[in-house]
Structures are given as C-alpha cells and as structure tokens.
Symmetry: C2
Subunit: 248 residues, 2 copies
DNA sequence: ATAAAATCGGAACCAGCAACCCGTTTCGTT
DNA sequence: AACGAAACGGGTTGCTGGTTCCGATTTTAT
C-alpha cells in the first residue's frame, strides 16, 4: 500500500506534496473550516468535498477520517485561544483581563458551531489541545482570584462548565437580545461580594486538596512543612519558566 | 385505509381500544419514557419496541411518528412543571419559592435526557406546552422581583436562557463536583446587590416596553393615563381568574 | 363456535452518510 | 515527448435507523 503521510502540519506536508495535491489539500481544509463553522460536526463529508470542488476520495487521501479533518480544521482556533491566554498571563490588571478574555472567547465561539462542538466535548479533540487551553485559562483564573476580581471558591472545573453554559445561553438567547447579555449575567456570578448562597462543596477526596498552580489538578499532600504548590515536576518547571519569561 | 385514531389523550383512546391494544399502548409509552430518559431523542425506535416487547409496527399503530411518541412521552413532565409553578404562584415568600423551584426543575431535568432535548428546543414540543411553562415561570419570576429577591433587569427570556445554561453546566460538570453546584453559582447572578457589570440592554423596539404581567410578552403603549398591564384580553382575564382563585 | 375486524410482529424498504476502491487523469522527471 | 508514479473522482459498499407493508394472530360480536 502506498505510504500516506496524513500529516497535520501544513508546512511539513506541503514540502513533499505534488503541486495539485498541495492546492487541493488547502482547498479541502478551507472548505472544511467554513462548512464546519456553519454546521458543526454534523455536515456531511460530501458537502465539504462539493464546496472544495473535489471528490470525496480526495478528501480521504489527505485526512484519514472525518474526525481527523474536523480536528485539523478546528484545532488551530483553540491553539490561538491558548496562546492568547498565555500572553495575557503576564499583563497587569488581572481582573479586567480575565473578564475580557472570557467574553472574547465566548463571543468568538458562539457563532462557530465547530468550536462549540469541540469545546462542549462532542468529539475527541487533538490530544493536549484542550488540556492546554484549560491550563492557560486556569492561570488567568488564579491571577484574577489573587487580584480579588473573582470569588475564591470557584475552580477551573467550575469555570469550564460556566463557559459551556454561556455558549449554550448565548446560542439560544431570544431574538432581539444582544450578544453578550447572557455572558455578562453569568460573569456577575463570578465576582466576589455579598453571597446569599454558599456553593455546594466538592466532597471527600477532593476537599482540602490544594490545586496545582499551573494545571489546576490535584496536588499530593505536602510531606515537608511547606505546602506543595504543583502537581508534579513538569508543572513546577513550567511555572519557573513562566516566571523567568515574565521577568524578562 | 383503516381509520387510525393516533389520539394523544389516553383517557379518550383507552375507552374505545381493544384490550390488547390498550395494554400495548401503555407498554410502549412506558418503554419510551424510560428509554428517552436515558438516551434522549437519539435512541432508536427499535430499541423502544424491544423494551416494550412489541414489534416496531405496533409502535407505529399507536403513534404516527417517532416525534409524536417523544412528545407523548415527555410532555406530561413539562405539564407537571407548569402546574407546580402555577400552584407556587400563590404562596408566601416569593423569593425562596422562586429559587427552590428553579433548582428543582434543573435537578429533575438534568438526569433526564429527554427533558433536556425538549427544553433545549431540539425538537418541536406539543404546541402550547412549552409556552405554558414559560408563562408560569414568568409569574414566579415577577413575584420574586417584586419581593426584591431577584434583580429587576432580568427578563423571562434571560431566565429561560439561564435555565438552559444551567442544564448544560450541570450535565458537563467535572467528576466529583456535586449536583447543584453550578446551579447555585448561576443563581447568584440573579440576586440583587452591588453590580459591577451592567447588563447589555435590549435595544430599540423592545426597550421601554413593559412586559405583560401574565405572559411576559410586549404590552402595547397605554392610551389612557394608567399604564397597561397585560398584552391582551386573554391575559387580563387569566390574571383576574388567578386572583379570584387566590382569594378562595 | 365462528367469522369479521382489529391488532400484532418483524421483514422489507428507503434514505443518508462514512469509508473504500479502482479506472482515469495529471504531474514531474528523464 | 514519453513514462511511471501520484493524485483524482465518484460509484460502490456497508451500516444505521425511520417508516411501511402484509401475512399471522388475537379479540370481540354474533
């Protein structure tokens, strides 16, 4: 059987591809992006091929499955979100940055059914892409909490759930209601201040457990007097690198 | 062609049905309820027939389509919600009642995929059923606002969207997070108090427009000195009836 | 008991769609 | 220009799931 590369890295792939193949690959990816944006994971593959002006066989030459195509079409957006969050982690005014970032992510995602399907977990995204986003968002959250702009009892899990809730709300808001109204409403629940309801606590194993400052995951109980701050060596090193970068 | 009744009214249907037909109808409906509850609108019809111990043809004898079956299986739950809301509209302590009702609806709906599909509008419910629910919920909302338990700038549209957002959030909450945590978080955004963000206003045609006290719909500008309170004669009469019922 | 009518069951039908295959076309090289 | 390899396209296959059809069966009325 002929060797198929199926590489997701465009630069690498385009180097060794025949001219027409390179062109068609770009056409397919472009068509997939716009089609998935409008119709989500549900658009038939034939529709994408039609839009790209190629046969379905050509699509399968470049991407081993519909899911792989979807991943390729959508993951760069999430990576962009992640990169933006990482940059914003070194700015002043953590509170403002946090809320602005959250609103922007929601605004950009709502009108993109593909992103909705991805963030709402309706398919398995490229390994690591979603985790990286979650991690970067967690950093923004923790900084905003330290700046007293977000209530302290909210976890990154809560925030991810709230994000999906906002997507759901904005998607189904009544006609005439402005974009962002539901997000603003939900964001109010994140702000610190007089609380009437106490958040139902996270029970048992997860109670009293500190969260890793980088990834938000569970931190093993400290063996020394000083409490541990990271879930492992990888996150500790990452935090050190980020601090070094912030200083420069 | 033989006359098929396809009636959705059980009492009426059961009167004229043959004994085995009546029994099978109940079996199908029961199986549909539990199957849809677990798998939402997505469960295949054959699965329901299998659970009921009948053939697919029998299902189609009683319900003209899968959607009709879904409606029949799910609408009584929504009607129950509506009835409960109507009863609660005559109790003291509108604030507490409002939040408790909201939480209960969400709690009961989250574990019922069929209800989720219905409330999130993934299919066309029986005409009027959803409107009635919305209407009844609107009454509770307005009473809670008058009792200063809910911020005044929230509309029934906002609330319906928030409800769906809560469903989405509770469904996708991280493992270990207790049921209701996300709802509590979202409810905090409804409470009055110091606000940092101003809700994006609903523009143009709908601004400055009062809401009907019964259905929450738009009220025509008052022609007399006294402002109009209802969107039409139907809602005015309904309000009168409800007041009379409350007095008795 | 018997026959007509209603009902039952599930095989058959149909549509949509992902994935595959192979005869044909195009490209890059010699 | 000619040749071989790579790429193309769309017809084909397999599967899932909603809907229909009809011979077999059960119920009810006489």
């Amino acid at each position: 059987m002929a060797e198929r590369s199926h590489s997701l890295l465009p630069s690498q792939a385009s180097a060794s591809l025949r001219a027409d193949a390179r062109r068609n690959r770009a056409l397919v990816l472009q068509a997939a992006r716009s089609a998935f944006e409008e119709g989500g994971l549900g658009v038939p593959l034939g529709e994408i091929a039609r839009r790209a002006g190629v046969g379905t066989g050509t699509v399968y030459r470049h991407f081993p499955s519909k899911e792989a195509l979807f991943r390729a079409a959508v993951s760069d957006r999430i990576v962009l979100f992640t990169d933006t969050a990482r940059e914003l982690a070194h700015t002043e005014d953590a509170g403002t940055v946090f809320y602005r970032y959250l609103s922007a992510v929601i605004r950009l995602t709502v009108r993109n059914k593909a992103l909705c399907d991805a963030l709402e977990g309706r398919f398995e995204p490229s390994p690591g892409v979603e985790e990286a986003f979650r991690e970067a968002l967690g950093v923004l959250l923790r900084r905003a909490q330290q700046a007293d702009a977000v209530r302290k009892d909210v976890t990154i899990d809560d925030l991810m759930a709230l994000l999906m809730g906002c997507l759901s709300m904005e998607q189904r808001r009544a006609p005439g209601v402005p974009q962002g109204r539901m997000t603003a409403l939900a964001c109010d629940s994140l702000r610190p201040g007089r609380r009437v309801t106490k958040l139902p606590a996270i029970p048992s194993a997860r109670r009293n457990e500190t969260q890793c400052e980088v990834c938000g995951g569970p931190v093993a109980p400290a063996r020394t007097g000083r409490p541990a701050r990271y879930c492992g060596a990888a996150c500790r090193q990452k935090a050190h690198r980020e601090r070094a970068r912030a200083r420069s």
